[in-house]
């Protein structure tokens, strides 16, 4: 393992929190690498030096100041407890909004009257299905189209020949 890969395991090795595998790998590397060995020694000394810095004590008035601040803080309103927690309120609002949106996308419910009318129309269509199936045959029936247009051409009635049109009196 190279120096760069060792570096992340070095702190855990020195503070005793490395597992046995990590410890073995680091120790093997330190035996071979003088630079990393020197760094490890200096880290140990650094920690000793850092431990020299004494802890500080909070000032005497620390607790009293905190109590004063807590006492001075505005009390929550009596109805504040009745309000839902912000996360819960947001979740409910989101759920309602989502329901409205999804509801708007659903196909509208069918009006019962229209549904009845459609049913009757469908019933009539099914009843006349036999006729409708033959409609194309009837409309394109060649035998009818081949007939002469008229065996006795109709003559437009002549005004003079019209027996009803003569002067009767």
């Amino acid at each position: 393992m190279n120096c760069e890969k060792i570096s992340n395991a070095l702190v855990a090795y020195l503070d005793g929190r490395a597992n046995s595998d990590e410890r073995g790998v680091v120790e093997a590397h330190l035996k071979l690498c003088a630079a990393c060995q020197e760094r490890a020694d200096e880290f140990r000394r650094l920690w000793q030096v850092m431990a020299e810095v004494p802890a500080v004590e909070p000032s005497l008035g620390f607790d009293a100041r905190l109590r004063q601040r807590i006492a001075a803080a505005p009390r929550p309103k009596f109805w504040a407890g009745m309000l839902p927690a912000p996360r819960f309120a947001f979740s409910v609002a989101l759920l309602v909004a989502l329901s409205v949106w999804v509801g708007g996308r659903q196909p509208r419910s069918v009006n019962p009257q229209i549904a009845t009318a459609n049913s009757e129309e469908q019933f009539r269509m099914i009843k006349d299905l036999g006729v409708l199936e033959n409609y194309d045959v009837l409309s394109n029936f060649d035998a009818l189209s081949d007939l002469p247009a008229s065996t006795q051409p109709q003559q437009s009635p002549q005004p003079g020949n019209d027996p009803d049109s003569g002067s009767g009196g």
Binding site: S7, N8, A9, L10, V11, A12, D15, R17, E38, R39, D41, E42, F43, R45, L46, W47, V49, M50, A51, E52, V53, P54, A55, V56, E57, P58, S59, F62, D63, R65, L66, R69, I70, A73, A85
Partner: protein
Amino acid sequence: MARSDVQLMLDVKAGDDVSFELLLHKYRTPLVNFLCRMVKDQAAAEDLAQEVFFRVYRARKEYSPSAKFTTWLFRIATNLALNAIRDGRYRQMQISIDAPGDEDGPAFQLPAREARADDRLIERERNRMIRGAILTLPEKQRAAVVLHKYHDMDYAEIGKILGCSESALKSLLFRAYETLRVQLALLVARPATQAAGEGKRHEL
């Protein structure tokens, strides 16, 4: 049998202010020290610590023991400290270890064996250097080092406080200690004479 921190906090939630006093008594010193190492100035650290405890008390009704109490407490403290530092509220308090001392006393000199220096003065100067070096670290590295070195927290807990993985934390700590090793070389490095002596012994 002593109640755990989580149990104490649950009692605070139930309205027991005495339990809050117990938590305050237990954690005010570690918290002030942590914040003191983050922002240097003790008055500023105490202001931030007050804010942490105030927030803990204010949030007592919403408390749920999803993590260790210390993880929750120090996460609040770390976030407050990082925000304060980034806002620049405490920037002027940070010092350079190369700058002349901001406390009374002469600039640091390594104690020679023959010198009969005032031990307290030297000790104070060493402390100033160490604190100054820690304060020059980037904020997140600084928090990691302080929690690791001065609060003896394990990697999992520090990772939760800082919001990073254990492997990222180990890398962060290595870089931080490497920076400190270089900055505090005067205190940390082996004296050249000792190194040379050991070299000669190896040769023999």
